[in-house]
Symmetry: D2
């Protein structure tokens, strides 16, 4: 039940609440165990290339309300398959896992806290299998991780989208327009679905339910005929038409991933609708405003609880696990149980049925 | 599996999300069952005195983001013990339950949705025992109801308090002051505890843990000595000193309940501290800004889910139950299982230990 | 000094604060003059086609915090040149001015309050020249109207964009990315410039200063070399490269105006940068979230002041004028002095020099 | 037109936007003049006791959105009459002005930027008269400084109060209560008046217009009779009844100023009303949440503009002046023209008449 020295890294896309985790790990490791805390920079890259710094109570005192991660993060730092672009833009991969493990050993850490989503946690699990004392802390803005009720950052993203919908409602109604909001969600539609329900959207399109354009038009026209010549739609970036590929998929596989939003699905559907209805159509692409910025209280608390319990789990030697929210308690689940499973929204889930029960069209 | 006509009332203190429930009940009863929906005004008073109106999809279309309850509510409308003040300000009570039941029968309702806290739900249960087809929908800003993971309105209240703490942090630090924030919570300290954790409070005082003034002073002084000559405190309105009564208790028992905040616990502690430390002390009393106003997405979704599932439960004839959030699903629990139990924060609960693990003083 | 019956219409794009104006006109006309107030629907279309309704104190009581306009609005209702699309999508125009004037006379109004931007106010002025008692109330989200210090709705739009920048800062820094925010502003860059200054942007591109891509790259690279491998940019939708047309101009002239954002300037620049730098680039298009939604206090007060003073001007018979904010007072300016002039940002204005003085690049 | 070394201090109560000023002064002095910038800590105390530190572009990069002042501030640091409390709590004053001037000279500064309200600016003026190259930057949350249209921090305070009113409206209406919001404003009622207008208050009580309780009751009762049995009131902390002293005055003169809110005017009026009406009354005391926290875009821009222009004025040797907002430009006004004048709201000003024109009662 003692900790001398622990490390923490954040990997994958950032989201609100990461700094709450870093602060909680730092404070509870120092206050309760007098441990030293090492912050590893830019995800696993910091282990591969030996970039890190000491974290202190004083140095983490003002970060609770701060978005992003003070440690930095990256999507491309897998030590087992480190991706690099050569001069022609081609990807090459290299295995740095041995170097990673050696660097870890040199740091002499009792535990490595790996904060990240599916990909990051799987890397953590592989390192655990190779003998590293890893504890996972789940993070995904998309809320699509199995094993935990909620991930931090998700509520904040839903709120940002809900606020945008509140704004689009009044302008849509004033102008008799169809307002489209494109939100995050490549493979799971949680943000779109919950933002849509909370923002009073009339149509919600998610990756799990390929949409039928005729059904969408039907809903918009029905509303117009009923005296509401405007509609508000939420579209997950991974939404796709029945029988077609998602719009983003091609772009995402190239180096131009950076501008995957160019001609994204929101604008694509805006064009589709414009060709078929008399109402004007407008599209808003929230993009990374959903990731950054000050977290809601909910995400700060969840991050703080996960960080604190992770430190306790480390002190108890429970490696190879992930801290997770179950109902109202933080519990431990084995990292191996995650196994790269994405938690999609089942088509007949209670939440889907709720949306349809209050009259929302899911394009089916 | 059919519904012809249903009624809904909101009782007790208002909170954010009530209108989301009313809208969801109205929409899902009409859209899925072609039922008529009757809104009963000002809680049970509307049944006692026969005040109600028809609710429609059009009439509830803009209320999702609206605070309060379009049906009105009251704290004093118990049909079994209806309280009235005579001219001298004395309270008299009268039993209107028979009249209530007769009015209900005249409305010819298949179900009565009772949205409220502990008190309101108990009245609902008594009416169910007398034969009324009641379904409860839990509501309490204090989050202290048993049987459900969260109540709607609570997250919004925590967020309002967290936002206030964010503001108090910078001014406290700039001026070297102790900033006190008094929040809601007469018997349970959930708002204070979660707002405090999320807002980076240094001291959190809750009703469940009577505070030792010396411990509070110790924390403030320790911080000042460590180079942080300022502190931020959250105080639940029901916080009390070891061996003493809560400050609000006397006032609350008189007709002047309306101004119970006069000389409330926040200002009382401000005075206590001012007498003992050199730092200036300032107090903010958030009061009903925690109740009113637009709900967070979380509370809108929770309210919508509860309302929709309540209608389905009604269609399935599952009366005498309450809809409740368990992990990620809405489930049914028997009204009788609530039995007036307040869900306080156990002194050794995980959340309490989390606060202390990151260095927060709970005044003990 | 008496008013019997007045009318009000809102024209052009909506913005936050329109309902504050409508409420103030309604309340002050009724409370101070016992006048009747007629709300004309969907801008001048409501006069052309005789669509209107009575406005009351009770009917406008909850609209102060509401976005949009309860009267509706449209961009295409010029009575002198009413635009319609035939079946092939071609535009035809028709002169409805005589019909408009006749409808106005039938309404027997002492004054017509015309709330709108440059185009709407010019129509108002032409109707005034034809004998109608018109008073203008300035509105443009772009803040580019001459004659008034500020227009309502503008501060709210700047705030929405500033909030987005706050969110983009942390995610950009965490990931080492260039974050682009595209905001409103076809011909004037006020929103981009003020949002950029307040949100700490490193590059701000406005229509008034065509950008030199090399200068933008220089700034981004300089920052990266100085240890800040990320940048945040604000781009007005009318921003254009030196020697090139604005990206939106072509789309805007076709019927597909509705999806003018498709491949807008933000994404165009994202692509340009991606081809030249190693950092990833991401783009957010705020779109109509800048128009809709609850107004800031500033815009509610400005709208209320303008509406109240407009009614007083009407009672004093000062037609052909526009109410305007000058320093701290609402004053009257002649409608004819506006003459279709757009208030662009002078290239050497104090505000421009302020931005450059703190190190912001304007791409020149 | 050169600057080698400049100093900046912030004095008096803090408000949102101070850090925007500090950042703008730092950046524009360094970027444009390669000057060194010295931050003086805790107002004039930092000059008296020689506490200061160097400010850099890197060190001020994340403070634009941060409330408070990174330099600290104090209300009691007048070098000419430095107040100290002896052990019995008695105040003694001492003249440290000579020491202040000597410390200033030792710092070898070309200019001292004094950011503060009336009191702080007057001290600055006295130091200027004694030969120091002082430039003032106006700051007061109360907006009651002569010479400038607006002060930064004020809009943020109004917005915080307006947001609170939005929340109080719905809960007041749901419960049939009178909701009182006590806001800042000891001698001037700008915050109360503008927050009240923007938040739809029915009664606004300001220091400039002593209130007649009967008039307040009349308004509340009239509303109740008209079918609106609830009212929302804003009360400036310096509001007073006709013929009586302000409630806060006594407390403010003692050492217990720290808890002046105890039994403040909001709760006093709540008690007065409770004794005379049947509606319940509730009171919220916003306190220092109006001062702290992230500034609105408006205040960040104003702070940035003032800071930048102050540096330019320094480079031009225009000492003994204050930068000020006039309409849309930052101009210079002589410090001597301020002369301790508080800008109260004239009883017949346009803003007052606006409030009454839309039916707000000012208690007269």
């Amino acid at each position: 039940m003692s900790l001398k020295r622990v490390g923490i890294l954040t990997g994958g896309g950032d989201c609100s609440g990461l700094n709450a985790v870093i602060r909680a790990v730092t404070r509870s490791a120092i206050i309760n165990y007098e441990a030293e805390v090492i912050g590893i920079e830019q995800g696993f890259e910091g282990l591969i290339f030996n970039r890190n710094r000491k974290l202190t109570v004083a140095g983490t005192k003002d970060i609770l309300a701060l978005g992003g991660t003070i440690l930095g993060t990256t999507n491309k730092g897998d030590p087992f398959e480190y991706r690099q672009f050569d001069q022609d833009g081609h990807v090459t991969t290299q295995d740095y896992s041995q170097q990673t493990i050696e660097n870890f050993k040199r740091l002499d850490l009792d535990c490595l806290f790996v904060v990240g989503g599916d990909g990051t946690l799987q890397i953590g699990y592989r390192l655990f299998q190779k003998g590293l004392p890893v504890i996972g802390i789940p993070k995904t803005i998309d809320n699509d991780l199995v094993g935990t009720d909620y991930t931090f950052g998700y509520q904040t993203a839903v709120q940002v989208a809900c606020d945008a919908l509140d704004r689009l409602q009044t302008t849509g109604e004033s102008h008799h327009r169809v307002m489209i909001l494109e939100v995050m969600g490549r493979s799971a539609g949680w943000i779109a679905l919950e933002a849509g329900i909370s923002g009073g959207a009339h149509v919600i399109l998610i990756p799990e339910i390929p949409y039928d354009l005729e059904k969408v038009l039907e809903k918009i026209n029905l509303r117009a005929e009923g005296g509401s010549p405007f509609s508000v739609m939420v579209v997950a970036e991974g939404a796709k038409e029945i029988g077609k590929e998602a719009i983003t998929s091609e772009a995402a596989s190239t180096r131009l991933q950076g501008v995957a939003q160019l001609g994204g699905v929101g604008n694509y559907i805006a064009k589709q609708l414009s060709d078929r209805i008399d109402l004007e159509v407008r599209c808003t692409v929230l993009g990374h405003t959903q990731r950054g910025g000050t977290p809601l209280a909910f995400d700060r608390i969840l991050g703080t609880r996960l960080g604190t319990q992770a430190v306790q789990a480390a002190a108890e030697g429970k490696f190879g696990t992930m801290v997770a929210l179950k109902s109202q308690e933080i519990v431990l689940v084995p990292l191996e149980s995650l196994a790269g499973i994405v938690r999609n929204i089942p088509n007949d889930s209670q939440l889907i049925r709720t949306a349809e029960a209050i009259g929302v069209s899911l394009g089916r």
